[in-house]
Symmetry: D2
Subunit: 225 residues, 4 copies
């Protein structure tokens, strides 16, 4: 199990109404408060239009939900690394299961993010694609079996082998890459199990964002580490 200092929790706000606009700010404040109390890192991934609002109002690591590997120029409607950086983000999700990219574009996104100093979390769906993503040298891979996303059934319980298998596969390919896991994570026992399986943290969403009391849900999440 990792020390608290190296544990990373990233809360993906998706397009949940509860996490849109000022809602994103409110949830980010809850993340900050719980992170300070518990001594863990909790980042938040709001929608692109909410990056600046959240980052300028709350002192918390802000991640983009997506980043396109495009440069400056004629790329209307794309998520350009520099604008994400300027909005105050410190990193980005890449290739979330709800926003898949081609292999070439994942590589280009990582390169573009690194070029402006953003950390990178590449999402994957199984051990094979996790290994492949590790070969591209992002900071993190986050393995999430798509069938468990939003299911309420934690990956650490339903499919612990995908986590341990990912940790092993990544270690062989690039030991600098850290492994997160996700899908169905919301409770303290889920996070504890995820860390015991060798991941350094979790990516989570509905279990917190849609909770009646997101702050209480976050407090439960970090209660066992």
């Amino acid at each position: 199990m990792g020390s608290k200092g190296s544990t990373l929790i990233v809360l993906n706000l998706k397009t949940y109404l509860e996490g849109t606009g000022e809602g994103a700010v409110t949830i980010a404040q809850a993340c900050r408060d719980v992170a300070e109390s518990a001594g863990v890192d909790i980042g938040v991934a709001p929608q692109l239009p909410d990056l600046y609002r959240v980052a300028s109002k709350v002192d918390i690591p802000v991640f983009s939900q997506h980043l396109d590997g495009v440069g400056a120029g004629g790329f209307t409607g794309h998520a350009f690394a520099q604008s994400i950086k300027d909005a105050g983000a410190v990193g980005t999700l890449i290739n979330h299961s709800e926003r898949r990219l081609t292999l070439a574009d994942i590589d280009a996104s990582i390169t573009a993010a690194k070029g402006v100093g953003l950390s990178t979390i590449v999402c994957t769906n199984n051990i094979a694609t996790t290994a492949a993503a590790a070969a591209l040298a992002p900071d993190y891979v986050a393995v999430e079996p798509p069938e468990l996303i939003g299911s309420g059934i934690p990956v650490s319980q339903a499919d612990p082998e995908v986590v341990t298998g990912s940790v092993d596969a990544v270690a062989k390919i690039n030991s600098n890459v850290k492994v997160l896991c996700g899908a169905g994570i919301s409770k303290g026992e889920d996070l504890k199990a995820a860390l015991q399986l060798g991941s350094v943290g979790v990516l989570l969403a509905s279990g917190i964002v849609k909770a009646k009391d997101p702050k209480a849900a976050l407090e439960d999440l970090v209660s066992l580490i």
Copy 2:
């Protein structure tokens, strides 16, 4: 030629570095100043991460460069209508040539935008697709021959028939839909010609954003109407 009051100019900032972050704010201020002096409507379309920053700092119509026809929920990395609205935008481009959508998604985007009160500008590439887009009842269609985008050769000069043909085709299908034109537009004579061809305004980008003095370029743009 339309009266000034009904003329619409929309400046697309794409992913130009000059129009990213604080640069977007600076260009928006120039748009506002020229719009006030000239008595015309000038809107600006910054990148998604810059919507809130621009809309909260400059009193000008702000358009998104893109909007996905998705609802609230599990749509990580998508451009959700409500978040665009909450960021302060009044409308959105849809289906720009650099961000094409399926026909079903254009329809869904228009519906989603209308649902939160955003005005819609659907971009098209020729007379046939302009007619098709008009059948979906957006507020505007903006016809832009892709080969002229960024060329510096104004569509009003290189291919006036695509503008007049679009105006005629749209009038037959839905007379509530207004026509903009774009591609290669940057000078006062280009805008004047565009209005004389029956469009109610223009969509433009590099000719202003990449100009040495964007404000002076905007002043030239509106000098003949």
Copy 3:
């Protein structure tokens, strides 16, 4: 209700195992036999690798399931109009709900298909997109509410207004475009109802391909016209 002579039935084999390889030939033979007995046109849409095999063995109108609007050249893995024509097809589906295209690409596909003499059936999902597709002047539009595809609930019963509304909308935009309907169609009464609602035929799939006896299912389909 249209006369038999103008009625068109197109059986989409999708990627059903029963309609793959020699299975496609067997189903095409059943279509031919029933078409001859009943005096109606029944076409079949096999997968791309099966076009030549079916067209060279069975004298029946063969449609491609998809066609890309690309020309000759560097378009690896694309469905090129000339190769579809050379394989013996007489037409093609475009923009099926399982293979959506951008608006610009639908237009390019229609143009490419016409260029080699293939007839075109553009699939759509509601009245608005049907009207839009009609503006592109294909030979047919085929409206299919996605939620009814493969449901066994015929569109003619679940949502007759989408058929009559499509027929009306298309008539206003381009009276040369004929309307098919689809989704959940498999019985004689479904086809009869579809024709009574003003369509000239149907697009159907699982109800026939997955039937215990596809030929008997086809005989039932055409029994009431």
Copy 4:
């Protein structure tokens, strides 16, 4: 340099008119004749509608240009592994630069191809993506810098490091995966250089298909091994 027996040459016919329909058969016959004379393996990758025609007329390894990782069912217009197998193919290209796939879909395509006994060649664009592809355990990776495709400038000369770097990276990740290279290859010296750099063969296209005499061009290609 590999022995002739393990060398693989794959000729991609793309959507070249010269390689469409009966043209595909004619080029495949030239490939077969030269392969027999020279004692090397030459495969051909025709368009999907030409797979059956070529495979049933010419005794040569036939590859699909593309394969979707979909199963049997509702996947209209997709390239289904079983139909490609039934058409007589022995393998498939996956993720060609002109037909990029998401990382998850590359993985699904490899799995689907293996499931029906098709060999797999995953195309990549640089050393990083080659390493990533190797982690998915295809039979071959084929590295092709996109900027050199169709350029007439052989990768073995313009960018030999991308070949040797790919060979090294793949060896570390999965030594069962063999490396091909491509882009700009057409001459005997290009193939010889490609083998000397550690690849086991080449993927090529326009240099042969668009040659005045494709058979003579193939004879030159294999003349130095």
